[in-house]
Amino acid sequence: MKKVMMGNHALSFGAKLARSRVIAAYPITPQTQVVELLSEMCADGSLDAKFIKVESEHSAMAACIGASVAGARTFTATSAQGLALMHEMLHWAAGGRHPVVMGNINRSMAPGWSIWADQNDSLSERDTGWMQYYCASNQEVVDTVIQAFKVSEALMIPAMVILDAFALSHTYEVVDVPDQELVDRYLPPFKPAIKLTPDDPRAFGGLTGSEHYMELRYKLQKDMEKAPALIEETGREFAKAFGRHLGLLDAYRCDDAEFVFITSGTAGYTARAAVDDLRAAGVRAGNLRIKVFRPFPFAQVREALRNVKKAAVVDRNCSYGAHGIFYQEVKSAVYGEAGAPPILGYVAGLGGRDITVDSFKEVAAHAMSKERADEEIVWIGVKK
């Protein structure tokens, strides 16, 4: 069934179709419509879930962890300051192997107060052990929530489904809402092998000495490494059931491309329009949108850049004192590869500043004038 809906409601529909059983959430702009719709769904009985209206994001994630370890499929959503407040619990969810799925609306971190998009909130959580999916359309949001549960529960690793503030969260798009029966076939009920129950009493997360801790984290990393293949496999399965492929990367006109943008989020769709314009002007351009940031698809990025002559990573984020964060990862993906193309790093769109087709053209013009990267960060659209 096709519906026109905002990105936030796409998250709610994803959580509903996945038959989330416990939702614990706290409101924050620009996430509020996610929880408003979910609480309506719980109230009118169209979703059989417990909605816990907690008093903070920290408690939201704590409650999700508690529900997850008890064996319930668990969903929440937040943004920016809320995500930062959850930080401690994000480690808890991943370290404890609780496959919570969370929507995060990419919003800039204060101060000054900002409600507009950039990625520093979610990328500040890159080392917590959560999978991170960055979406570019509302269709992708609803589909990815369903896929994320499947992957997360197979690996017992939590996942964030991430969308840009306003550019997606409040943008109405046409969404083909997946059929519930097909979703049920694609995503069976959550049945963890070990859970918190008096029938099999165990203590979870107790004091762990240095003789054990490292092995437990080694296991987390090893399972994370299984995720790229599983995301591709479940993405193909999704395509079979719903006609839409969900993968690690979204390569647009990259096959014969000499120059590619490397992008994420909604900017990764705007870049397509820029690619079309550049192609019309005779530049063999392409756009490689990175959809899954954690685990980082190193091998796939390396492969995608094999025949490229130059790549420009456009980051809507900045690791202050270093680089744009996708830029760091892309560089490390091709490090040491014979014939790896020069890769340049650009930062644009912080605090919700628009990233336009013209922004990408400016990036392309700059990149093509350079032999190699000679600045740590090239700023786009900043009044220097």
Partner: protein, 301 residues
């Protein structure tokens, strides 16, 4: 010593014989918190799920991959006992287990200080959990630092003798009563029968139930391990820590009426943490205890 000398009579135990706590745990000698756990589990039984934040019990239970309790435990973040328990209860309900009692089990630091927001949130929502604060009046697990449960006059490693704590203990039970939750009780390890009875009563009530259990700590109070029960009993008898219940935030019942209320003097003097107190300061403690007791009598009248 021989058992043949006397014919054994049938023993009558005043608390349930079932043990859900095994030996080998890591509590200090004479630990009140450990006794509190043992009594609570005797009352609630095996179908109990515990959420334990950072506190002595995070260590007492034993390190990975061990546990001393025959109940499921989730070791949760410091400030999340109430919120994690909320989630566990919701999760169990949604997977069809509506029978298990969910308990948040936290120390005074995790309750009076860092976990107060989550506790207040859970109580305001009237989550169907039992929240137990075992109170040893300081951050004992980290090495005896003051908490807002530390009483007036006490030495801790962050309130040295020259700057001992000169503010009274936070009235947490009063705060919880203001949430109008169905059941609140104080209990003491010196009165296990009373503790078990009230815990069983609480188990049959739904909604948020709050227990404040007095649990002396020989390590932190600089008292003798063998005096743990004695100290707890003295605190009950001198109204330093009276035993009472509050139903629906309003109906106060004093469980142990004090016909002959003892002075606090003896109680203070056998604890190293109060050694520096001068007579006038002990008199100030007495005045505070008397005032609190008078107020409680009024509320329970």
């Amino acid at each position: 010593m021989s058992t043949e000398a006397k014919k054994p009579k049938k023993m009558t135990l005043s608390i349930p014989p079932e043990e859900l706590m095994a030996c080998g745990h890591l509590a200090c000698q004479g630990c009140g918190a450990t006794m509190a756990m043992r009594y609570m589990l005797k009352a609630l039984g095996q179908r109990t799920a515990l959420c334990i934040p950072a506190c002595c019990w995070a260590v007492i239970d034993g390190p990975y991959p061990y546990s001393s309790l025959d109940c499921p435990i989730y070791h949760c973040a410091f400030e999340t006992a109430a919120s994690t328990a909320t989630g566990v209860k919701a999760g169990l309900d949604m997977v069809g287990d509506t029978e298990t009692t969910v308990v948040a089990w936290a120390g005074d630091g995790g309750t009076f200080d860092i976990g107060l927001q989550a506790l207040s949130g859970a109580a305001e929502r009237n989550e169907d959990i039992i929240y137990v604060c075992y109170d040893n009046e300081a951050y004992m697990n980290t090495g005896i630092q003051r908490s807002s449960a530390t009483p007036y006059g006490a030495w801790t490693t962050t309130t040295p003798v020259k700057h001992f704590k000169n503010r009274p203990k936070k009235d947490l039970v009063g705060i919880m009563a203001a949430h109008r939750i169905p059941y609140i009780a104080t209990a003491s390890v010196s009165h296990p029968e009373d503790l078990v009875k009230k815990m069983k009563k609480a188990k049959a009530i739904s909604g948020t139930r709050f227990f404040h259990i007095y649990a002396p700590c020989p390590t932190g109070w600089k008292s003798r391990p063998e005096d743990t029960v004695k100290l707890a009993r003295m605190a009950v008898q001198n109204a330093y820590f009276p035993l009472f219940e509050i139903e629906d935030g309003e109906k106060y019942t004093i469980n142990l009426k004090l016909k002959d209320k003892k002075p606090v003097d003896d109680y203070i003097r056998i604890q190293g943490r109060f050694r520096h107190l001068k007579p006038e300061q002990i008199a100030a403690v007495q005045a505070e205890v008397d005032a609190r007791w008078a107020r409680l009598l009024k509320l329970a009248a």
